[in-house]
């Protein structure tokens, strides 16, 4: 099979799995998850084959795997859709397929497959656990998710969307995948629709991302009207870009800049950048695999991926670049500050995700293309690892909760944990690796290399402000990461639940181990040549490979000690302080950093509530509903009724009954009846007579025709 065909086929298995599960196998849990996981494996294998073949190609950037077909006729020409795997695509495909596969695997364990059905579990609520009788005494065990199959169906659809987005060679199908994922994130965040918080979170996420998507759609439309094509390789042709850059548009932006900006807003929504970041922390209401899915593997990466795709367009306009850089850096810092004061283990990770995405965006803003991609991938690995790890922790805690039966202990609150190191060793070590990678622990972890590269580029390109901001953010990152680890794993158990927490099944730990492996090693493919000692031990493969995507290959920045020392300092310092401050903090009260403004996320939700939600509600309920609808429109409508009635009765009495009914209706009936009475004698009921009549008519007509010379 040619690589192109294979690429076409990659998104297929999840889609099929979705329909299979929804339509056929949703009765059987085992069947459903085997279908789902099977699909994930198939796509993963295909992706790996594609990836390996991609590695084999020299100058993949110049001639990537691409094939396209005509889709929509647009006047004389066609709207083409197709697939494209260039170095960027290959790299992204690599981690996406792996993470998706891992998450499928993980979900099996997370939803307690194989456990008995819950005593009083209801659809739309998290399982509460089941009582089982074991040699004499009852005790609670985790119970299986009631909507197990549905979860895998959604997951599969989500994977489909992501694959479509990655392999598509044009903005249109990319946007389609983008929207599919938007829908699925809505469905999955609101998966436990029984919980009001989940419902609200789902709606919030949907709405917020929708804002971005609308702008993105505008950008796409603008691009199409400007260039007449949506295919990347045609947009990124030299003359096209030049034309776009030269034509000015509104507010001093060039067309390219404007388009890039609009598309970027889409990304802001999707990957939760500064103004539209609010939905992401709430999205934690979804099951943990969803969090990992959305926050590491697919959606947020998708946002960044989109911007990276559009980089050639983006880089044309310095104004846009600076905006991007600013937003990225600001997000990085400010999300980090919030993360410091969160107690929910997953929310911390959520905010750290936002801030890490900020890093990537900022990197793009300063033109560090490769660094952005690199960080995207490494981050995907270690953040997926962290989320799954936290999920595993929560799972263990839930086990403890079930054991004690005290259900008002929040298994996600870090202050309820502590000392889990010994209870859940695998989870602990993998989580530790993930955390160090996140905080950029020097040399061994992947996070270090990607972050360091960002610093280096930012510094070398002379964006000092961005550089300092990011450095601060990085420090905070290390800090809250260590805080999290300390509170969760180190020290003594603070609750009985924490004492009875226990390690999770292999389906959950295996992905952790695998991801941990990548979280460490993936950094080594991108070690800069000029790095002291290590530089050049392993070639900077990543730079070479991904760099090929761009038309002119970006050369590596020359080495400088400042960023290196900075990153070393912030990472180690942050980690140290994190441990030092929280080594014996046992309750939120003792936590000095719990200042309200941080706890309440700078009051963003409240501000938005005041600025947008309240007015919208007022407009809808008071203005439109009460005044417009009830008052004006209904009034008018109600006045119609009587008038029409009167008119109708007049027409009936003076026109309908006498004229239509009597005269035309009955009259015609009478006439027909009379004629029928006269003519019925003709109908003898004998077939031969009928034939004779017909023939006579025929002969007569023929005779007439001939007589008047109309024939022959």
């Amino acid at each position: 099979m040619t690589t192109e065909t294979l690429i076409w086929l990659i998104p297929l298995p999840p889609a099929l799995a979705f329909f299979l599960i929804v339509l056929l196998t949703n009765k059987s849990k085992a069947l459903s998850h085997s279908v789902g996981v099977g699909a994930a494996i198939l796509s993963w294998l295909a992706s790996m084959v594609v990836f390996v073949r991609a590695l084999g190609v020299e100058h993949l950037g110049e001639e990537p795997f691409a094939s396209s077909i005509n889709w929509l006729p647009t006047g004389s020409t066609w709207l083409k859709i197709g697939v494209l795997i260039d170095p960027l695509g290959a790299a992204v495909l690599f981690f996406v397929s792996i993470t998706i596969f891992m998450i499928f695997l993980y979900s099996v364990g997370y939803h307690n497959f194989g456990q008995p059905a819950g005593d009083h579990d209801r659809k739309g609520l998290p399982p509460h656990g089941a009582t089982i009788e074991e040699h004499g005494h009852k005790h609670m065990v985790p119970s299986v998710e009631p909507m197990y199959s549905r979860f895998f169906a959604f997951l599969a659809l989500f994977a489909f969307g992501m694959y479509v987005l990655v392999v598509s060679d044009n903005l249109l199908t990319m946007f389609v995948g983008w929207e599919i994922m938007g829908l699925c994130s809505y469905l999955l965040i609101g998966f436990w629709y029984g919980k009001e918080s989940a419902r609200n979170a789902a709606i919030k996420a949907f709405m917020t991302t929708r804002i971005g998507d609308v702008f993105m759609l505008l950008g796409i439309a603008f691009l199409y009207s400007a260039t007449g094509t949506l295919t990347f390789r045609e947009i990124f042709r030299e003359e096209t870009l030049h034309a776009l850059a030269s034509v000015p548009s509104f507010w001093g932006f060039s067309t390219a800049g404007m388009i890039a900006l609009l598309l970027f807003i889409g990304t802001v929504g999707k990957s939760a950048q500064f103004p539209l970041h609010v939905w992401l922390p709430d999205a934690m209401e979804g099951p943990t695999p969803v969090s990992a899915m959305i926050h590491a593997a697919t959606m947020v990466s998708a946002g960044v991926y989109a911007v990276i795709r559009m980089f050639p367009l983006l880089s044309l306009d310095p104004q846009t670049m600076s905006i991007v850089a600013f937003i990225g850096a600001f997000t990085a810092l400010f999300a980090a500050t919030i993360a410091v004061a969160q107690n929910d283990i997953k929310r911390v990770l959520a905010y750290s995700t936002i801030s890490q995405l900020g890093f990537m965006i900022a990197a793009l803003g300063v033109g560090a293309y490769i660094a952005a991609v690199f960080h995207l991938i490494t981050h995907a690995f270690f953040k997926a690892l962290l989320f799954l790890g936290s999920g595993s922790v929560i799972h263990g805690m839930e086990h403890g909760v079930l054991h004690t039966g005290n259900h008002n202990v929040d298994p996600q609150d870090m202050f309820n944990m502590g000392g889990l190191k010994n209870k859940m060793p695998i989870t602990f070590w993998t989580f530790l690796i993930g955390g160090f990678a996140l905080s950029g622990f020097p040399i061994i972890t992947a996070g270090f290399w990607s972050k360091d590269e960002i610093f280096a580029d930012a510094f070398a390109n002379g964006h000092i402000v961005v550089f300092i901001t990011l450095a601060t953010a990085a420090f905070l990152t290390a800090f809250y990461t260590m805080r999290q680890i300390t509170l969760t794993f180190l020290g003594e158990p603070r609750t009985k639940e924490a004492e009875h927490a226990q390690e999770t099944p292999w389906t959950m730990t295996a992905p952790l181990v695998i991801l941990a492996f990548f979280a460490v090693t993936y950094g080594w493919v991108g070690i800069p040549e000029h790095f002291p000692v290590l530089g050049g031990l392993v070639p900077n493969w990543f730079h070479e490979f991904v760099g090929g995507t761009l038309a002119e290959h970006p050369e590596a920045v020359e080495f400088s000690w400042v960023p290196l020392l900075t990153s070393l300092g912030v990472a180690l310092g942050g980690l140290f302080f994190g441990w030092f401050v929280y080594r014996n903090v046992n309750s939120p009260a003792e936590d000095k950093l719990q200042i309200p403004v941080l706890r309440n996320k700078w009051y963003f939700d409240e501000i938005y509530d005041f600025l947008f939600v309240k007015p919208a509600t007022w407009f809808a309920e008071i203005f439109v509903y009460k005044w417009m609808d009830k008052g004006l429109i209904d009034g008018v409508l109600h006045s119609f009724g009587p008038v029409t009635q009167g008119l109708g009765s007049v027409i009936r009495n003076y026109i309908d009954l006498p004229v239509i009914n009597r005269f035309f209706g009955d009259g015609s009936a009478d006439v027909t009846y009379w004629f029928g009475g006269k003519l019925r004698a003709v109908q003898t009921g004998r077939v031969q007579h009928y034939l004779m009549f017909a023939l006579v008519t025929f002969v007569v007509i023929g005779a007439v025709l001939v007589a008047f010379g109309l024939l022959a």
């Binding site: 031969q688 004779m692 023939l695 006579v696 002969v699 023929g702 005779a703 001939v706 024939l711 022959a712």
Partner: protein
């Protein structure tokens, strides 16, 4: 008057004669048998027209199936077989009149038509009508659709006939 014309005239007279017997004989079985001979004559006419396939199909379908079916039907409806009463209905003269007038009309129309006296061109060598017919019957470019429709019609007729004639007791 060539040999072919003589043959044609003989065949035509034979056919018309037996056709006349078909519509006039009192004994219906004889009528059916006369029909058979008429069909034979038509078959010979086909061969004179170099349509051998039609001729054979005529024999197979009409004589092998339809005529036999008629004989069956005549014997199954035995009551009127041995002919009490007239075989003609009471206004048969009018039918005859109409038939004759129809023939006259057709003849008149034919008189007015120019392509009437044209004679057949020789069939080109190597042209196999049967092969051609077969390919055209099943080629989508030509007549496969009517062909299929005809088959459907036959199936419908088969089912219908069985259903109608089935003795529900």
């Amino acid at each position: 008057m060539t040999g072919e014309q003589i043959v044609f005239l003989v065949v035509a007279l034979f056919t018309l004669g037996s056709g006349f017997m078909v519509v006039t004989t009192r004994n219906l079985v004889h009528a059916a048998l006369w029909l058979v001979s008429t069909l034979f004559g038509v078959a010979v006419a086909y061969t004179l027209l170099d349509a051998a396939f039609l001729a054979v199909v005529q024999v197979v379908v009409y004589i092998g199936a339809i005529a036999i079916l008629f004989i069956f039907a005549v014997m199954l409806t035995r009551k009127d077989l041995l002919d009490q009463g007239p075989q003609m209905n009471k206004n048969w003269w009018f039918g005859a009149l109409l038939a004759v007038s129809t023939f006259g009309g057709l003849y008149f129309l034919l008189q007015g038509w120019d392509g009437l006296s044209k004679t057949a061109t020789a069939i080109p060598v190597g042209f196999d009508a049967v092969t051609e017919l077969g390919t055209e019957l099943v080629s989508p470019a030509a007549y496969v659709l009517p062909f299929e429709v005809a088959s459907v019609l036959l199936v419908a007729a088969l089912v219908g006939a069985v259903y109608v004639a089935f003795n529900k007791k």
